[in-house]
Amino acid sequence: MSLISETDRKKLNRRKRKAVIFSRFCAAVTWSSVLLLAVLLYQVAADGIAWLDWQFLSSFPSRFPERAGIKSAVVGTLWLISLVALISIPIGVSSALYLEEFAKPGKLNKFIEVNISNLAGVPSIVYGILGLAFFVRFFALERSLLSGALTMSLLILPVIIIASREAIRTVPMSIRYAAFSLGATRWQTTWAHVLPASFPGIMTGVILALSRAIGETAPLIMIGALTFVAFFRLVQWILLLLYPFRFITGFPGPRRNFMSWLRPGYLYF
């Protein structure tokens, strides 16, 4: 004697079948992309592994493939991203804290909010034009690492602010009330409770934003980043390279040998 009737059993089986089909579909999608990645990695590794050595990492670009390296690209990227982090994280997180915790809600606040959201959707090349006009020309920072970092910071600030605000909003009001009821000021409440509780969320936003900055090339083309740097002049802030950028355009000459140069580069990247 079964627990359920025959028609109920049929319905139940149908529901179970749907669940199985959906879970298989999800698994297929996941594994096919993993497989694709594995194939690509294998292909790159098979050709590029021979080029992977310290010399490749520690040499400047060169006209001769066997002497060429990615030192300036790596160093430039690290410089750029560190500067971007230094500029954008404090400004972005502070702005988010101000908008969420301190600013009085009102028309002005709403206006700022809408504008930040819009800025997050502006194409990166537009930031490049802005950077060119504003930092390179107006502030006369020239085509420097600093103008590049400032432009990139502008680009990712909206993302950091929006992500941080979302993270701050997830902190329950009851925690704030608890702190206030103990005679804490806004600042003490924010610093001791709101910020630590929203920290993981803020970090997620910051990492996503920085990874966008590290992969972004268009704004740097606009402000005139150098793509072939055979020596450093750090003092003059002239070093401005971005690693992925080099793979898109910047190879010295169309010689075939340089094509194999690409693969170890990807491997490092």
Partner: protein, 270 residues
């Protein structure tokens, strides 16, 4: 228990309350509170006496929580709240120009409906308040003393540095009380502190309130009329933002002066 304190109709304070002037921890005069023009509390006048437990009862939406939150200026955080009338705290006007709301909240503590410990250790939950307010004694002693006052010490003394979130709901609520007590407040406001708790935890907290009465003035909002009649010395009954009746608990529950109160406490509505 013969001192009927006040009978309030249309915001008038009964004269018999004047003999308690010395003992009033908080005195309300014709207090109205509006949420962007909608009145939530209308013309409430009463006195909360020192070292007594006063409970505020009434049907949902009668403004009792709003009134309670106005007593330590927690309403300041809600947009569009406007308050009229006067609340005296000792000789000071609670909403006076020269009164710092942070100082008010330090001296008038609050326990909330849902236990809301900080996501930190038990020790730090208690130590944080005093430390930001410049407490200069032995913090270990203060933590122990506060936890003992809240009847939680024996249960947590071996895991003071474990997360407060691992405690049960009742323990968390007692931790929140201990956290408030560590500030050594003059008044403790409790907003339905037992509504999220099981009967045993509720009994713990009620016992605790009896203990605390000798040192603190307690004002509690509760939905639970048995609780109000068990624990409080005075009871205020509110409906539609008005204070309908205020008197000693026995009178309010056994021979209320206003018919509406009788209907409520006997369970005919609400």
């Amino acid at each position: 228990m013969s001192e009927a304190v006040t009978i309030i109709e249309k915001g008038n304070v009964n004269n018999s309350s004047h003999k308690f002037t010395q003992d009033a921890a908080l005195e309300l005069q014709d207090v109205s509170i509006y949420y962007s023009e909608n009145p939530a509390v209308r013309g409430v006048s009463c006195k909360f006496l020192r070292n007594k437990i006063t409970s505020i009862i009434g049907p949902s939406g009668c403004g009792k929580s709003t009134l309670l939150r106005s007593l330590n200026r927690m309403n300041d955080f809600i947009d569009g709240v406007k308050i009229e009338g006067k609340i005296s705290f000792g000789s000071a006007d609670l909403y006076g120009e020269d009164v710092d709301p942070v100082e008010v909240r330090r001296r008038i503590g609050m326990v909330f409906q849902k236990p809301n410990p900080f996501p930190k250790s038990i020790y730090n939950n208690i130590a944080w308040g005093p430390s930001i307010n410049g407490y200069e004694g032995s913090m270990d002693e203060l933590v122990e003393q506060s936890l003992k006052q809240a009847a939680l010490w024996d249960e947590v003394k071996d895991r003071l540095h474990g997360s407060a979130l691992n405690l049960s709901g009742g323990q968390q609520q007692r931790l929140c009380i201990a956290r408030g007590l560590a500030m050594d407040p003059e008044i403790l406001l409790m907003d339905e502190p037992c509504s999220a708790l099981d009967p045993i935890s509720t009994a713990h907290i009620e016992d605790l309130m009896f203990e605390l009465k000798s040192r603190y003035t307690i004002i509690i909002v509760t939905h639970n009329m048995q609780q109000a009649s068990r624990i409080s010395d005075y009871t205020a009954f509110m409906e539609l933002g008005k204070l309908i009746e205020f008197g000693d608990t026995e009178t309010v529950f056994t021979k209320p002066k206003v018919k509406r109160t009788e209907e409520y406490v006997t369970g005919r509505f609400g």
